[in-house]
């Protein structure tokens, strides 16, 4: 079965290459440009991994991640961000995520991390 991944980022350029990088490895990738629509979709469809940007208009990534955690504890979450100064521990206050990457990141970095979080069965850090 194809592994399903959802990428949420308001930046089309980033969604574009992340989708293609993962698709070429056999992932089924869906793109969303805002948090609200993504949460909507997540209620109807199941995904293995969600990649979520932090700084987005309307609903911030932190809020999106928090809601995913509340309703879908099994989904793996990777946070991506363009701002190093946002990096705190935990990356989203009060919520644990499975991994994060700082932009700019390369295609192998996102591929490796996606593989890794999916394999990782242990507690999230």
């Amino acid at each position: 079965m194809d592994r399903k991944i959802l990428i949420i980022d308001d930046e089309a350029l980033v969604r574009n290459y992340v989708r293609r990088a993962l698709a070429s490895r056999g992932w089924a990738v869906t793109e969303m440009d805002n948090g609200a629509s993504a949460l909507d979709l997540l209620r109807r469809e199941t995904f293995d991994v969600v990649i979520c940007d932090l700084k987005m208009p309307d609903m911030r990534g932190e809020e999106v991640v928090k809601r995913i955690r509340e309703s879908l504890p099994a989904v793996r979450v990777i946070v991506i961000t363009g701002s190093v100064s946002n990096i705190t521990s935990p990356i989203v206050p009060g919520v644990s995520v499975d991994g994060f990457l700082i932009k700019p990141f390369g295609i192998d970095e996102i591929r490796d991390l996606a593989e890794k979080v999916l394999k990782n069965e242990g507690p999230r850090g």
Binding site: L13, Y17, R20, G82, S83, S85, I102, K103, P104
Partner: protein
């Protein structure tokens, strides 16, 4: 010989004017005559005079009006008013308008010459004050002071003694003392004067034949000196230095006039030194404020900018790598795309350095041994230094007190300085690291670390800019121009200071001071 002064005589009585003229010229002055006020003003606007001797009652324009006008033309000119029917009233009026002094006609020429001499002296002091105050470099200022005092007090030798960093007196500048033995004996004499109780050390002192005086008779080499004058420099009511003025001739007594001159001169020098130290403090504080403002503005800008730039940059990197995957490894396209990829990594590095300003990371301070930080940092880069044939010389003072600091951040600072030093010596050289404990004039203690290289040095034109963000002399792609500004940011957070000194061709020294 140059004239003692150039004097303008303004008098409508030709006979008197001529007489004054003749007597001034006979005494080594040069002078010009004007026969009424407006003529006098015309002269003064064309020619530079040190002094004007002005009659008060003249046709057309009276002396009081002319006095006011001439001061407008040349604010520095000294004016002596001469009045034949003087009342106290006109005298006071003229003094208020800025006259130096007044004479009642008929006056004796001797009397006039005395007043002229005093006025010229005042001019001289004014000029010296101007030179001292307008000399920005403290070393030059001391030289000007000693030159002036030698001239004014007709000294055969004069020296200015100041305490060095450890509080030991040393000769800062001297005049008329060429041999080391002579200098040593004068310094010893001055040191003893400075060691007296504060009340004595603060007043002007005169010593006749110091070699016969019991305070100094054991010092060898003072026989030549017949008269010694000691003029203390005082700051905040405390003695901070000493000017020693010596005359060698048998009859060359210091007169009461000389003492008066010395006192005036002393207060002038004290004022000048005070002013210049205040001025330097002001400049330093201003510089720090400007730097701090630049940093914080840049930090804010960087934080916002990083996010905006990282998104498209991420796209460039990802797409480039995607295309690379389907490109023939031997093609030109592949090579070009690799270059693009490298460029993105370079941008990423710049942004990360830039963000070290805006990062709200707290400094975690603990008692830290500066020598330990240096040793630790050296372990990190010892191998690189070896490869570049850079010899490391340690002059680390043992038993230094601890400073409150963030170990990691200090390491970052030292690493940056060591790396800069290494880069300044591409053909090898010497990296000297020295630490020591210093007392500031305010009484607090600082640990000073100096890092010196034997590289090419920093061009004086750019030495002010090296701490500016993005300023770099390294080739494109080699340096971000942020290293030193980050260092400065860190050291300022530690309430310390960082300075650069360089002599082109000989190397540079960076000094980091941290409060204990």
């Amino acid at each position: 010989m140059t004239a003692k002064a150039h004097i303008l005589i303004v008098d409508d009585e030709a006979q008197i004017a001529e007489m004054i003229l003749a007597s001034l010229e006979a005494n080594g002055y040069t002078a010009a005559v004007a026969y009424n006020g407006s003529q006098g003003l015309e002269r003064a606007s064309k020619e530079k005079f040190d002094l004007a001797i002005m009659d008060i009652q003249m046709p057309e324009m009276d002396g009081i009006t002319a006095l006011g006008e001439i001061k407008k033309i040349d604010p520095e000119i000294e004016v002596i008013i001469a009045t034949g029917h003087g009342t106290m009233g006109t005298a006071i009026q003229s003094m208020r308008k800025g006259a130096f002094d007044y004479l009642h006609k008929p006056f004796e020429l001797k009397e006039l010459l005395k007043v002229v001499e005093r006025a010229v002296e005042k001019r001289k002091f004014n000029d010296i004050a101007k030179v001292i105050f307008s000399t920005p470099k403290p070393e030059d200022q001391l030289r000007v002071i000693i030159d002036a005092v030698t001239r004014i007090l007709k000294a055969d030798e004069s020296l200015l003694v100041l305490p060095d960093r450890d509080g030991k007196p040393r000769i800062a500048v001297s005049e008329g003392l060429d041999d080391d033995a002579g200098r040593a004996s004068r310094l010893e004499m001055c040191s003893r004067v400075m060691l007296q109780p504060a009340s004595a050390a603060k007043s002007l002192q005169l010593v006749e034949s110091p070699s016969l005086d019991k305070k100094f008779s054991d010092i060898k080499g003072l026989e030549r000196v017949k008269f010694s004058l000691f003029l203390p420099l005082v700051e905040d009511n405390k003695p901070v230095g000493l000017i020693n003025i010596n005359r060698d001739a048998d009859e060359a007594y210091f007169t009461e006039d000389d003492m008066q001159r010395a006192r005036i001169f002393g207060s002038l020098v004290n004022l000048a030194l005070r002013n210049s130290s205040l001025y330097r403090q002001l400049q330093e504080t201003q510089g720090q404020l400007i730097q701090a403002e630049k940093m914080s503005a840049l930090g804010q800008l960087a934080g916002g900018l990083a996010h905006e730039i990282n998104n498209p940059l991420s796209g460039i990197l990802g797409l480039t790598q995607l295309v690379l995957e389907s490109t023939d490894k031997n093609s030109q396209n592949f090579a070009d795309l690799k270059e693009i990829e490298k460029a993105v990594f370079r941008c990423k590095k710049i942004i990360v350095s830039l963000l070290s300003f805006s990062r709200q990371e707290k400094t975690r301070t603990e008692p830290v041994n500066v020598n330990e930080v240096i040793e630790e940092t050296l372990t990190l880069c010892a191998r690189q230094m070896e490869l570049k044939h850079v010899k490391i010389v340690r002059r680390l003072a043992p038993g230094l007190p601890m400073v409150n600091a963030d170990f990691q951040q200090l390491m970052q600072v030292f690493l940056n300085m060591f790396t800069n030093a290494r880069d300044a010596m591409p053909d090898g050289g010497e990296l000297a690291i020295e630490t020591r404990l210093l007392k500031t004039p305010a009484g607090s203690e600082v640990i000073m670390t100096s890092i010196s290289d034997t590289g090419a040095g920093i061009n004086p034109d750019i030495v002010d800019k090296i701490f500016d963000p993005f300023f770099t002399t390294k080739p494109v792609g080699k340096g971000t121009g942020l290293g030193l500004s980050v260092c400065m940011g860190i050291i300022h957070k530690h309430n310390g200071s960082i300075k650069a000194q360089s002599e082109p061709g000989k190397g540079s020294t960076f000094t980091v001071s941290l409060p204990v």
